[in-house]
Amino acid sequence: MKAGIVVFPGINRERDMAIALHASTGRAPAMLWHKDADLTGLDLVVIPGGFSYGDYLRCGAMAAQSPAMAAIRAHVARGGYLLGVCNGFQILTEAGLLPGALLRNAGLRFLSMDCHLRVERADTAFTNRYRAGEVFRAPMAHGDGNYFADDATLDRLEGENLVALRYATAEGAVTPDANFNGAARNIAGILSPSLRVMGLMPHPEDLVDPLMGGTDGKPLFDALAALEVA
């Protein structure tokens, strides 16, 4: 599996992502500066977290218009996998590669804490090392993670079974108390209809080492290590 991490200016979790990918795949992913991002031959492209272009417009809005997005769209069009985490998720929604938008957290404050995620489907290239209904823990660190879409879009996502992860209690109950940022229907991560694009707000890449408090995030990267573009 060949992975590449696209780095826009202001992205800051690219090293965390590289550590997690390296731990599962046994090799360092390509670090691709947005100005010269050649995605040829990659199975997986990752847009990691951060504050691209400072997020001074809407989060992710500037990067979504960047020339590098053309290469990323072409990668998806030829069947490549694409993962956007945190700011990466925001960029994918701004670019229209995933539906919806990420609004300010409901409490209007940045939130850095562990959350629990319930795996809504485990038959995707991203989630197949978890069991459906399994709950895992992940750090979150964002000011704008409150997933929003109109009811029709939300109904379609649920109807087509494209919700990958929901905020839940440690026991797996999808409750308002477990939904720290106020996301619509507790949505933490979604998939494209092709199941080859996933976006999520929390950071499983920061929980892949027992010393850092657990390995709850590692199955995600173990799953990615096994994928191959058909």
């Binding site: 202001g10 090293r15 504050f51 001074y56 940045f110 000011g143 010393l211």
Partner: protein, 722 residues
């Protein structure tokens, strides 16, 4: 700007009559407006340390592991594996009161630059915050803004904020303290310094453009506040963490080459202090042509450009043959890069603008003849003994009240707004251990980091308070298993022209120095913030200490969380010292008596024993006993581990809440072995209880459930702010 330069203008710029006389003598003529500006900021308290230098020189600064002590942008210590830790703490007090968000944010930005300018990648931020009475609306506004500002900058720039401390006291009502600390990691053989060299070499400006913000910020930081502080808002800088992130990456990329001869960030007093210090340290002259300076606004004068404190800017001296390669790196990161001058052999700083020489100052006397004051000191009278104090409420109520008080309440509301996990190396997050533990990427080694000071002790007895601040930092690192290596100090005091304040300063330094020597814990960097008073109300003397230690194996670090079945062992002597304790203030409503005495020999012996036990693998959890005393320490361990404790000792309020120093609580599996080892080491040790159940039980008291204790501990910040 055709203002007449005279003594009246000099006074307005913060120079005394005597200091202005010295300017005239050096120049041999009336200085230009720009020259007067340069003198006034270079000789401000903030830049010249004119009141504090004589005392700072008495601090111990050397140890075999110290690579660079005070005098550089930050301190540098050898941490093994060929690596160096680069660290410093710095204040942004005045700006954070005037404009809390930007004041705190730019405080973080400034200290980050002090660290990466030496070639280190920043890996951790910490802070030390003091605020006024929570009952005041202004305190709430300042806390909210400062926390947002620290988070806003640190989160965006991508450096985890892993630790810190917060106190409240009415003495900070008009003058909060915001002290920010950054720790970076560098190759120990690739430390970048600021001394310029090579006549004719280009002087290069990189980073953000220069605007009119922050002009005379250094001067503002060198005076007391009066009622008009709101009017000083234009002296507060605005930060851009996005540019800072680019600047870090671009500078580190360039530092991997051999292009840089010298580099210095533009902090207080901006282009003036960076150019003067680089040339001065290198014994060369420097000529700047401001026509080439990247500018954000039009029609800026030389004076404005030299004194602007616009953020996210660096000054470098490059090898001429590497100039174009360097330019390409900064173009990649979309940052300004401009050659604005060169080094000369004149020994002068010469500033040209539009073909006119706006300043021409000899550098040697600007530095050597900077004012240095031996200000009069008067000793703080020793507080009267406390005498017996009756317990008005009982242990149960006292414990719940203390757990809920602003100085002990859970800080989760604050930490939860700081990204503490970015980097993927945070072994112990905020609140998990006595010091934050950050592993070094690609190594098994980890840093143990803490900030500490107990201002109420410092107010009652500045010498003992200064000593206690250093000891507390050493103890917090020790309680994780870390070997304490060195400290950075942030000396926050009121008006040094008052003998009683200068006396506090001198005494605090004496106490700190004694602790540094006894614990082999030298000062390697620091910052002084004076004139912290508003309308004549001084702050509590606050020598904040940032401590750094190292663990060879991150996996050996222990936190505070206990688990069922473990035995709790108290290390150290308990006499029941209530003077200046939190119990005395919060329960008895008194702030008097002497603070607890410190036996530095016992501190060292107890701490070395505790660290040895942790590194031997015998200890499951450890917490030092500090604010609130023994029962608070035990309660904090119980809450951290979500496990109750059955305490088997009988004691009064002084026993459970006294703040005797040199103590730790260990959670161990084999208490008998711990006691044998303690006896062998000559360390007082006693079993105090067992970790079990879901509550705290003490002989003769109704049990306190963890739920009740947690509710009390969690209440303050959310109830206040949400």
């Amino acid at each position: 700007m055709a203002q007449q330069v005279n003594q009246a203008l000099a006074k307005q710029f913060g120079l005394s009559a005597d200091e202005y006389g010295r300017v005239l003598a050096i120049m041999g003529r009336t200085p230009s407006f720009t020259e007067l500006g340069v003198f006034s900021v270079m000789w401000s308290e903030h830049c010249s340390y004119k009141s504090s230098r004589v005392w700072l020189k008495t601090l111990p600064t050397k140890a075999p592991w110290v690579i660079h002590g005070p005098g550089e942008n930050a301190g540098v210590v050898d941490i093994g594996d060929g690596l160096a830790a680069v660290f410093k703490m710095e204040s942004h007090n005045h700006p954070s009161f005037i404009e809390p968000y930007s004041g705190a944010a730019t405080g973080v930005g400034g200290i980050l630059r002090d660290v990466f300018t030496m070639g280190a990648r920043p890996v951790a931020n910490l802070n030390a915050l003091r605020f006024g009475d929570p009952k005041l609306a202004v305190t709430k506004r300042v806390v909210d803004g400062v926390v947002r500002g620290i988070g806003g900058y640190g989160n965006c720039v991508g450096v985890p904020t892993v630790g810190g401390e917060v106190n409240f006291h009415p003495a900070y009502n008009g003058n909060p303290l915001v002290n920010a600390m950054t720790v970076g990691i560098a190759d120990r053989n690739k430390i970048f310094l600021s001394a310029a060299a090579g006549i004719g070499n280009p002087v290069v400006y990189v980073g953000s453009k220069t605007g009119r913000d922050g002009i005379h910020g250094a001067t503002m930081a060198s005076t007391s506040f009066e009622k008009d502080s709101e009017e000083k808002r234009p002296t507060v800088q605005i930060g851009d963490p996005f540019v800072e992130k680019l600047l870090i990456e671009a500078c580190l990329e360039l530092m991997a080459t051999d292009a840089i001869i010298a580099i210095q960030d533009m902090g207080a007093a901006g282009l003036t202090s960076s150019s003067v210090e680089m040339a001065g340290k290198g014994d060369v002259g420097i000529e700047l042509d401001l026509d080439h300076l990247p500018q954000r606004e039009t029609e800026m004068t030389a004076y404005e450009m030299m004194l602007s404190e616009s953020q996210e800017r660096m000054l470098m001296v490059l090898r001429p043959d590497r100039q174009e390669m360097a330019r390409a790196i900064f173009a990649k990161w979309d940052l300004d890069f401009a050659v604005i001058g060169q080094l000369t052999d004149t020994g002068h700083i010469v500033v040209k603008h539009k073909g006119v020489v706006e300043a021409d100052i000899p550098l040697a006397p600007l530095a050597d003849q900077a004012p240095l004051y031996h200000r009069p000191t008067s000793e703080t009278p020793k507080p009267a003994a406390l005498g017996a104090v009756a317990d008005p409420v009982g242990l149960r109520t006292a414990l719940l009240t203390l757990l809920a008080c602003p100085d002990l309440a859970s800080r989760a509301w604050i930490w939860d707004q700081y990204d503490s996990t970015i980097g993927g190396q945070t072994v112990k997050r905020p609140g998990a251990a006595d010091a934050a533990i950050v592993r070094l990427d690609g190594h098994t080694r980890a840093l143990a980091l803490t900030t500490d000071c107990t201002p109420r002790y410092c107010q009652a007895d500045p010498e003992l308070g200064g000593m206690q601040a250093v000891v507390e930092a050493w103890r917090n690192i020790t309680a994780t298993g870390g070997k304490p290596l060195a400290i950075t100090d942030n000396m926050n005091f009121a008006n040094p022209e008052k003998p009683e304040i200068m006396g506090q300063f001198a005494a605090a330094i004496r106490g700190m120095a004694a602790a540094c020597v006894a614990l082999d814990f030298p000062v390697v960097s620091g910052n002084v913030s004076l004139y912290n008073e508003t309308e004549g109300q001084p702050i509590l003397p606050t020598p904040a200490i940032g401590g750094l230690g190292v663990l060879e194996d991150a996996a050996q670090a222990v936190g505070q969380a206990i688990a069922p079945g473990q035995t709790l062992v108290l290390i150290g002597e308990t006499a029941g010292w209530l003077g200046q304790s939190l119990w005395l203030r919060e329960i008895a409503g008194r702030e008097d008596g002497p603070p607890p005495p410190i036996d530095l020999t016992a501190e060292r012996r107890n701490g070395d024993f505790v660290r040895g036990q942790i590194l031997s693998g015998a200890v499951r959890a450890c917490h030092d006993v500090s604010d609130g005393g023994l029962l608070i320490a035990v309660a904090e361990m119980a809450l951290a581990g979500n496990t109750g404790v059955a305490l088997n000792l009988t004691g009064d309020h002084a026993f459970w809440f006294g703040e005797d120093q040199g103590r730790y609580v260990l959670a161990v599996d084999n208490a008998a072995a711990t006691l044998v080892a303690a006896t062998a080491a000559g360390v007082p040790a006693a079993i105090i209880g067992t970790a079990q159940g879901q509550g705290l039980t003490l002989p003769g008291i109704d049990p306190i459930s963890l739920t009740e204790a947690r509710a009390a501990n969690d209440r303050f910040f959310p109830a206040w702010m949400n």
